[in-house]
């Protein structure tokens, strides 16, 4: 029962991040929103794996947590005019 409650709260958080991504005046604001929404998504996937009761599903969030910062770093390098 409580898992549904948690999932709803995290869903509201994802919607708020999307609002900043659509509105954000500069590209840096949008990149910050992307970085936040990936971290929130990792927590979302772990709770979802607990709802489905499958141990294998944790691998997806493991891959997310290890790889998603690459996108943020590449965008940051481009903003810095370096790549």
């Amino acid at each position: 029962m409580s898992e549904i409650f948690f999932l709803t709260i995290i869903g509201i958080g994802i919607v708020l991040c999307f609002f900043r991504m659509l509105k954000g005046p500069t590209a840096a604001d949008r990149a910050v929103a992307l970085d936040t929404v990936t971290t929130v998504t990792v927590a979302f996937l772990v709770i979802l794996g607990y709802v489905f009761k499958r141990y294998v599903y944790l691998d997806v969030s493991l891959v997310y947590a290890a790889l998603m910062f690459v996108g943020s770093v590449v965008i940051a390098r481009f903003l810095e005019k370096g790549i």
């Binding site: 409580s2 948690f6 493991l62």
Partner: protein, 110 residues
Amino acid sequence: MQIVGILITGIGVLFLLLGSYGIVRLPDVYNRLQAGTKCTTFGALFTIIGVGIMEPSWFWKTLIIALFILLTNPISNHALGRASRKSGIPLCDRSVVDKASEFEQYKGKV
């Protein structure tokens, strides 16, 4: 054990929501980085460890996920902050002090 896990997960979820709310509310890029990538680091850490406590056979793998988040999140935070300073985004008008120009002179001295 179940109740402790639910409590810790609840604290983490609350901080995730607060971090997302801070993204919408705070005035400029640097303050959004403060709320957005650190309240969420803390919240995700607590959420994942809480799920590990609720299901004790998952504990070690959730520990590894939490370790990865703890290691990679400061790096992307630092990269985004440095990039937005180099690309010339100004501070908001409520700021008190800006010592970035004073910082640049250390580069020549060393």
